[in-house]
Amino acid sequence: MAGRKRDDIITADTFLEGIWRENPVFVMLLGMCPVLAVTNSVMNAIAMGLATTFVLIGSSTLVSLLRNVIPKQVRIATYIVIIATFVTIVDYVIQAISLDLYNALGAFIQLIVVNCIILGRAEAYASKNRPLKAIVSGLGMGSGFTIALLCLGSVRELLGSGTLLGFSVFGAQFEPWVVMILPPGGFFVLGAWLLLFNWLRERKASPEMKEAVHAR
């Protein structure tokens, strides 16, 4: 974050950085717990992504609106109360929309409150920028998070059940790779995606640096 002044201009970067350069899951390695837990199907992944984005935007907005009012000493406690409020709201809304989805996501909806992404964003960004900027950034971060969830969810559901969003892709003869929808599968798939990400980043690095790496 070196060189970024506290300007109030909203650029496309404000939104995009949450998706690629500062992707919360693949780059900053935050909020891993739900990424591993609810990605055994694409539907669950989308729902979790949307719920987290909602909480992120809502809490960022409120924190940003109140940023000049909240005293420094109690700021973490206040942020947590605000985040917990939005999580409780999203908890009831999902229950009202679909009980099946709610049961599938389980406790991880309420665990959004301890998702380091949201508290981290409130502390590092929303408390220092105006509401509109916080909203755009929250949208970007939430989208980045949802994309990460989708990456995992689609691979795991495709290999583990042979379906995507419930629609059978490989036909009835497909013997599902069951471990993909079980806990170890989550770890393996996320590890694989990180491997891919790291490899892409290394390829983008300058040739001299690559020489140095290989010479090691």
Binding site: R6, L66, V69, I70, P71, K72, Q73, V74, A77, T78, V81, I82, A84, T85, T88, I89, Y92, V93, Q95, A96, S98, L99, D100, N103, A124, K128, P176, V178, I181, L182
Partner: protein
């Protein structure tokens, strides 16, 4: 972390309490508002989910009434008090098709919770639906799909002559060694989950059915 120009003076405790209190009240207001707005919808969803399971284990039923069963007898669930909840299901003519009750037992990974249907006319368990299970996909979850396992039902659940317990305890036996209609033939390869179903059914039926049977006529006509 680089911060804005620091505040010239320390914020007073009163101010901190004011802000915290204000935010707490705002949060409380938002939460209560959401709770009130969504409550009717959530209740509706819950009732629908239960009904779906009840009608699945008692096919042909169209309406449902809830009752509570304890040592003293049977009474409508609305009246409150303790006891085991049972769901009485009636067909289009208002005749009792059976009652449904919850059961659960320890399975492979965690507890398997099921809803089972009981038909007082044949004194048998008609079938079951899984309410909650974390069994291994592809193995333990075969209990809902395996044709041979499902052929175990209707399961004999007659009461003994004294009416205080089942004539034959419901038990899960090894695949292929079933001898009586009160036994459940396990799925080979998913023995523990099959045993959980048998244990759950037995635990529930042994307590519930002797209490229910003397008062079954109370339920026969749709209230």
């Amino acid at each position: 972390m680089s911060s804005v120009a620091p505040l010239p003076s320390q914020t007073s405790s009163l101010r901190m309490i004011q802000v915290l209190g204000g935010i707490a009240m705002l949060s409380g207001f938002l939460v209560v508002l959401t709770y009130q707005l969504t409550l009717p919808r959530i209740e509706l969803n819950r009732q629908r989910a239960i009904e779906r399971a009840v009608f699945q284990v008692l096919p042909g039923a169209t309406t449902r009434r809830d009752f509570l069963v304890d040592d003293d007898g049977v009474r409508p669930a609305g009246e409150g008090g303790g006891g085991t909840k049972v769901y009485a299901a009636y067909d289009a003519d208002g005749k009792l098709k059976g009652i449904a009750a919850e059961a659960g037992a320890r399975g492979y990974q965690d507890i398997v919770r099921i809803l089972y249907g009981y038909d007082p006319a044949c004194q048998c368990i008609t079938g079951f639906a899984v309410l909650q299970s974390t069994e291994t996909p592809g193995l333990g979850d075969k209990i809902t799909r395996d044709a041979k396992f499902l052929a175990n039902f209707p399961l004999d659940a007659r009461l003994a002559a004294d009416g205080k317990q089942l004539a034959n305890a419901i038990v899960t036996v090894k695949h292929g060694s079933k001898t009586g209609p009160w036994q459940i033939d396990a799925i080979s390869g998913a023995t523990i989950t099959s045993t959980a179903v048998g244990k759950g059914l037995n635990n529930s039926a042994q307590v519930l059915l002797p209490r229910l049977h003397p008062h079954i006529d109370q339920l026969k006509v749709q209230p």
